[in-house]
């Protein structure tokens, strides 16, 4: 199928990774080509060395309830959802410029990340499809 969903994952707070996982997995299940471009603070979620992702301050008080609710509803963790999306063909690219800014090399990322690319590659890849910025 020719249709595409390209997601710019910029936010580095834990809550934003939930829609990233859900939409990537759902789109991949629909047969849509999924391309995720990870940049900015979101890169912290993809390092080999696990880093705790913060909650946005205004929702910090709700974080425990959200975690509990997600467990109750048996919602998969965002990285599990991304793994499932990848099994269905999704690709994850790390932004070369922001990686450099944050002192990260390709080897510092976990196996969710396929490669490191620049903005031009992503824009060309995204052309003609749906684009989301998270």
């Amino acid at each position: 199928m020719a249709d595409k969903l390209s997601i710019v994952m910029y936010s580095g707070t834990a809550d934003k990774f939930i829609p990233l996982g859900v939409l990537s997995q759902a789109a991949a299940a629909m047969g849509t080509q999924v391309e995720i471009f990870v940049t900015g603070f979101a890169l912290r979620g993809f390092t080999e060395q696990k880093q705790e992702l913060p909650f946005p301050a205004e929702f910090a008080a709700l974080a425990p309830a959200l975690g509990h609710g997600m467990q109750q509803a048996k919602v998969a963790s965002w990285d599990k959802m991304l793994r499932q999306a990848k099994d269905l063909g999704a690709k994850i690219h790390a932004c070369s410029m922001m990686s450099e800014v944050m002192g990260l090399q390709l080897g510092d990322f976990n196996d969710l990340v396929d490669d490191m690319v620049g903005a031009a590659t992503f824009l060309k890849e995204a052309e003609g499809g749906q684009v989301l910025f998270i």
Binding site: A28, A29, G31, K74
Partner: protein, 84 residues
């Protein structure tokens, strides 16, 4: 998952009960990967979004929704594979 062969293709039951969105649709997609044209997939789930999601999935992948039934304990969607 249960497989039984009937005239016109295999019928597979996929149990996605207790799995929340996008679990059921993903389980459907995984069964679809293994299916052949003419097969029927019966998806069981409990996620409230499943009925519209199954319709959207079938429209997108050009397969046929035979029925979607909300039972007291589960939702049962029957999908016929036309496009494989």
């Amino acid at each position: 998952m249960a497989n039984e062969t009937t005239a016109g293709g295999a019928r597979t039951v996929v149990d996605a009960r207790g799995s929340s969105c996008p679990g059921p649709i993903t389980d459907l997609a995984l069964a679809y990967r293994r299916a052949s044209k003419g097969d029927v997939i019966e998806l069981w789930g409990t996620d409230a979004g499943m009925p519209p999601d199954v319709r959207a999935w079938a429209e997108k992948t050009r397969n046929e929704v035979v029925s979607i039934e909300t039972q007291p304990d589960k939702i049962v969607a029957v999908v016929r594979i036309l496009n494989r």
